[in-house]
């Protein structure tokens, strides 16, 4: 075991896979010499050479499109988009190819590739660096979407993502890149994709989150506990496939559910969860499934970001209202 933050843990996962599987390739803007603007890939080029860990030209469609080709040819590319706001030039390659090649070729060609990038607010970044658009990716048939909330999960989930034969969008909550440290095994281990994690058991209300919001929910749960409210916290871990089973079982028990995201409000992950609980456990519902999200606005520049970001207080506020409903 070793104390790691999420940056270390992701680096460790890449290191393990680069070492054990010569088909793994890591590239993107500034990931080679510099080790990425967040230093996630630091040291890997020195260890595995500039043919396997390298800087690409500044072109996201180019990065993802070439990764599709590499994957088809038998490599396992793990590419980095420098920020969440710079994935969009690659959208066509993601939707039209990374997600479809397997289906189009009737399973003949697989695209085992990971597209990783930092996302989300809270680090005082300028425009285009702070959004949280996992719902867009979740809506694209043929990809998987994974978001870790701790160093341990980041390592285990990334290893699974690299070993998956499908295209995985791996979103890294950069706000907690270095904010959370924990003991993580230095051995190889993996966490299955598509399975949620019950962070803490509770009886009064289920609160579902992922990424940096899990920690905010934990803070809110403490406030709630002080008021005598017992919160069950679910960390989704995968946005798609979404773990209906865990959600269902929890809401059956609590009868109440709130989803917390830092994404725009409408057409987001919260709505999907609300649809699921309505379809699956309607009769267990004792209050309307609610959402605590950011607004349907563009993430403000740093001075306005506090208005936009979901706070533990706001989560607690909704917990209270839901429990009292």
């Amino acid at each position: 075991m070793k104390i790691m933050n999420m940056v270390n843990a992701i680096n460790d996962a890449l290191d393990i896979k680069l070492k054990e599987d010569e088909s793994v390739i890591v590239y993107g803007e500034d990931v080679g010499v510099e080790g990425g603007v967040f230093r996630v890939t630091e040291g890997l080029q020195l260890k595995y050479g500039a043919e396997r860990v390298f800087d690409s030209p500044l072109a996201e469609s180019g990065i993802v499109g070439t990764a599709v080709g590499m994957a088809v040819a038998g490599l396992r590319p793990v590419v980095e988009m420098q920020f969440c706001g710079f994935v969009y030039p690659a959208m066509n390659q993601i939707i039209s190819h990374a997600s479809r090649m397997h289906n189009r070729s009737r399973g003949r060609f697989k695209t085992p590739m990971v597209i990783r990038f930092p996302y989300g607010g809270g680090i005082n970044a300028l425009e285009h660096h702070s959004e949280s658009m996992e719902a867009l990716y979740g809506h694209i048939p043929g990809v998987k979407v994974v978001i870790p909330s701790t160093p341990h999960d980041a390592k285990g989930l990334l290893i699974s993502a690299i070993e998956s034969n499908d295209t995985v969008i791996f979103m890294e909550p950069k706000r907690i890149y270095r904010a959370i440290k924990q003991e993580v095994s230095e051995e190889k281990f993996s966490i299955p994709l598509g399975k949620a994690h019950i962070v803490s058991q509770g009886t009064d209300v289920t609160v579902i989150a992922y990424g940096a919001m899990v920690r905010e929910v934990q803070k809110a749960a403490v406030m709630a506990k002080n008021e005598g409210i017992s919160v069950e916290i679910i960390d989704l871990r995968s946005i798609y496939p979404i773990d209906k089973e865990t959600i269902k079982e929890s809401v059956k028990k609590t009868g109440r559910v709130i989803t917390v995201t830092e994404s725009p409000r409408s057409f987001g992950v919260a709505s999907e969860i609300t649809q699921i609980v309505n379809e699956e456990v309607f009769l267990y519902l004792e209050a309307p499934p609610k959402r605590v999200t950011s607004f349907d606005t563009i993430v403000p520049l740093p001075k306005g970001e506090h208005h936009y970001m979901v706070s533990p207080e706001k989560i607690f506020y909704e917990i209270e209202r839901t429990v009292k409903y």
């Binding site: 390739i25 043919e51 396997r52 690409s56 030209p57 072109a59 469609s61 180019g62 993802v64 499109g65 070439t66 990764a67 599709v68 080709g69 590499m70 994957a71 088809v72 040819a73 038998g74 490599l75 590319p77 030039p89 066509n92 390659q93 039209s96 190819h97 090649m101 397997h102 289906n103 189009r104 070729s105 009737r106 399973g107 003949r108 060609f109 697989k110 048939p141 043929g142 998987k144 998956s164 034969n165 499908d166 598509g194 798609y240 496939p241 979404i242 209906k244 089973e245």
Partner: protein, 363 residues
Amino acid sequence: MFNTYNPLNNSMFRIMDNFGKIINTDYFPDLLDEEILKAYHDMLFARTADLMTVSYQRQGRIYTYPPNYGQEAIAGAAGKIIQDDDWLVPAFREMGAYLAKGATLKEIFLVFMGYEDGSKFEYAKNMLPTSVPIASQLLHAVGIGYEIKLRKKNQAVFTFVGDGGTSEGDFHEALNFAGVWKVPVIFIVQNNQYGISTPFRVQTASDGIAIKSIAYGIKGIQVDGNDFFAMFAALKNASQYAKSGNGPVLIEAVTYRKGPHTTSDDPTKYRTKEEETEWDEKDPLKRLKAFLNDKKLIDEKAEEILIEQYIAEIDRQFSEAENYPKYPLNDVFDYLYDEMPEDLKEQKREHEKFLKWKENLKM
């Protein structure tokens, strides 16, 4: 070759004139007479298949189809150069290359009949399915090229795109990455003068396409795409050049789409009879046939019989495709992921429940 036929010199690489006369012996390919005849026959087959596919479409037996008519020399020559181990990353208007690579007509028909199964192309080694989003496939070719280079394999990647496709950002990114990575990729631009109804002069103000190679520090050559020999020689040189580790080559094959864009298109709306006639004179099959005729290699009688055989063969494959089993519900779900997620299974089960209900409804 790529220094002599530098696109900056404004010289289009040609070997044979419009009448089948060899005008450039320096580069005349080292091919046996039979090999040339065989190439001609392959192009004839492709043309016959193409024309028949259009007529199947007119009969309502397949959906939209993009004819290759008039562009056969490009794919024909490529078919001779691309080796088994080489990769083909196609666009959609190079049937001859598909066939040479081992794709069957039946599979091609299946695609245009609306079955994904066709796109598997199981007998075609190292060939990707058709890519509909224009120019996006070029990046896949570059990625494959990277794998070849990394693993030091003796292969090249051949990839196709149209003149319209050169306007897309992905064209730029692909050629640029290929130049930086020095990967063995041969980019074949079929400049057939139109992207649907849009003429080439609306796509770019540059002097042709080959010249764009300069922007990427790679080799480029403009070739008479209706000249089988020129295409053959250019592709052969490009393949050797790329496989020797020199990096990518951009080949602009100047040609003309004699047919419509697809079977739903009407070219009379946007181009003149005169223009079409002018290009008729440069027809690739006509020219190769004239060459073979001069060499007394054409036997009209035998050709007629051959064409009849072709027709029979094409018809046979077409009816095989037409008799393809129904599209089962499973096929909608089975290929999305390597392992089907629970939720997709549930969506399928739910739908089956509905179908059962519907059966009862009818009774």
